[in-house]
């Protein structure tokens, strides 16, 4: 118990004094997950919207696949990305294994289906509401997608935040493809795993508090967004 208490005190000292290691690791976590988020959104938002307003032959199958991909275990994603990027793999020549880029790739694969699926749900609802008006006003496909994305922006942001939350808290995949290398690929989650194993609870707890704070922030933002959505405040 004493050890944990001392850990908590030390953790606060590290945070308040902006400890260099803690700062570096937090920053890298944010960099990796933010990059993954931006790339995932570039694919997922238009794709989810398109899926909501287009009727095509394999639509149901596509949606089912998307939902199945959402359940992919991150560790397996890590393994697959590892095999693809390893020296003997098809993309081995790029030398990306154990770099932040590899971690970003893994996180993009993990969160894209989630964001696309949430986008699809939100946009399907909005499209049902707007369908008649947008058809009657003779809108082009481009105008329809832009209108839906703009008017559904709060729901889309909620989806993106959920994706970010998943990315920043993920440990299995980035441990495998990043290797948790000090000053190179160490991020909040992998560092916590390592420091806990070593018995350095102070740093582990300090990192843990930062992670919790980020997660709370994301959840608070999602909550606020969905409330303004319901109340119809702009």
């Amino acid at each position: 118990m004493n050890e944990i208490w001392a850990g908590i005190v030390e953790a606060f000292r590290l945070i308040i004094t902006l400890d260099r290691d803690l700062f570096e690791i937090t920053l890298r976590s944010l960099q990796v997950s933010m990059s993954a988020l931006v790339i995932a959104c570039i694919f997922a938002l238009p794709f989810g919207t398109w899926l909501a307003i287009r009727r095509f032959r394999f639509r149901r199958l596509t949606i089912a696949t998307l939902n199945a991909l959402m359940g992919l275990p991150p560790v397996v994603v890590g393994l697959i990305v590892y095999l693809l990027l390893s020296r003997s793999g098809p993309f081995g020549v790029l030398g990306l294994l154990f770099t932040p880029t590899a971690m970003i790739i893994a996180q993009v694969i993990i969160i894209t289906p989630l964001i696309a699926s949430l986008t699809h749900q939100a946009m399907r609802e909005l499209w049902a509401e707007y369908h008649d008006l947008l058809i009657s006003l003779n809108t082009t496909s481009r105008q329809r997608i832009l209108t839906l994305i703009w008017d559904g922006r709060r729901a889309l942001l909620t989806g993106a935040l959920a994706g970010f939350g998943r990315a920043i808290g993920e440990v299995g995949a980035i441990m495998i493809v990043g290797g948790n290398i000090d000053h190179a690929t160490r991020v909040l989650t992998t560092a916590i795993a390592l420091e806990t194993g070593k018995g350095d609870f102070a740093l582990a707890l300090g990192l843990g508090f930062v992670l919790i704070a980020l997660a709370l922030l994301v959840n608070f933002a999602i909550h606020t967004l969905s409330r303004t959505e319901q109340e119809g405040t702009w």
């Binding site: 909005l126 509401e129 707007y130 008649d132 008006l133 058809i135 009657s136 006003l137 003779n138 809108t139 105008q143 209108t147 008017d151 119809g232 405040t233 702009w234």
Partner: protein
């Protein structure tokens, strides 16, 4: 548009859904001016009929022939739906939306938005979210958003259902003034009083069939078919 010239011709139009005939066969001509009331009880096919005219309901057979070029048909028409569709935006942005789609100048859009907000009595609400308006205000906003495009033809689907007397009067006043400045109006209702107040001609629909069509005074005062007689007497027809 010259009065008396045919506007649109329907020939043997049928609409089938799940192998059930919900409209038709309908063959009729509508003239180039006036205010047509599509009258009939719930489920008669009024909504389907209006949507067919507007070109947003697929027809199973028959033809709809407009007197104007195919390309400009939908562009010159506005449609106010039975349940008004409110964009999740402010009243101002809802009014501006159709003009924005046409890529018009911001200053011109502003000017029209202010004019129409005043016409529909929502000037005070310009910056409120449209989804929070009352039923009557939503209908008026939908009407303003339809009229801001300066349509040649305006379709309305029971715009005053569920509204109180005052809102109904305001909407009817707007419709009459649009009509007298040249907008052709085609409007569905099951309200007899409203038909008497507004109609220049009437299409009486029942079970997907046109039972009577002609000038308002003929249909509303001396109907020929027994179904129309019963409906006009206030009896329940199905």
């Amino acid at each position: 548009m010259v009065a008396g010239i045919n506007l649109v011709a329907l020939r043997a139009v049928c609409v089938k859904r799940r192998s059930k005939l919900i409209l038709g066969p309908v063959s009729l001509d509508l003239k180039g001016s006036g205010l047509t009331i599509v009258l009939g009880p719930n489920g008669a096919g009024k909504t389907t009929f209006l949507k067919v005219l507007h070109g947003i309901e697929r027809i199973s057979s028959g033809s709809v022939q407009w007197s104007m070029a195919e390309r400009s048909v939908r562009r010159t028409q506005s449609y106010v739906f039975q349940r008004p569709v409110m964009l999740r935006r402010t009243v101002r942005q809802n009014l501006a939306y159709p003009m924005k789609l046409l890529g018009q100048q911001a200053s011109k859009i502003d000017e029209h938005v202010i004019y129409w907000a005043n016409q529909i009595g929502l000037t005070e609400m310009l910056n409120s979210p449209a989804t929070r308006l009352s039923g009557g205000e939503k209908q008026k906003l939908a009407l303003g958003r339809a009229l801001i495009r300066k349509p040649k033809i305006l379709f309305l689907d029971e715009p005053c259902a569920n509204l109180d007397g005052r809102s109904t009067r305001e909407i009817e006043t707007l419709l009459l003034s649009a009509n007298s400045s040249g907008t052709r109006i085609i409007m569905a209702t099951h309200d007899l009083g409203q038909s008497r107040r507004l109609a220049t001609d009437v299409v009486f629909l029942l079970n997907g069939q046109v039972h009577e069509q002609g000038p308002a005074e003929d249909i509303l005062c001396s109907p020929q078919t027994s179904e129309a007689k019963a409906f006009l007497k206030g009896e329940i027809v199905e």
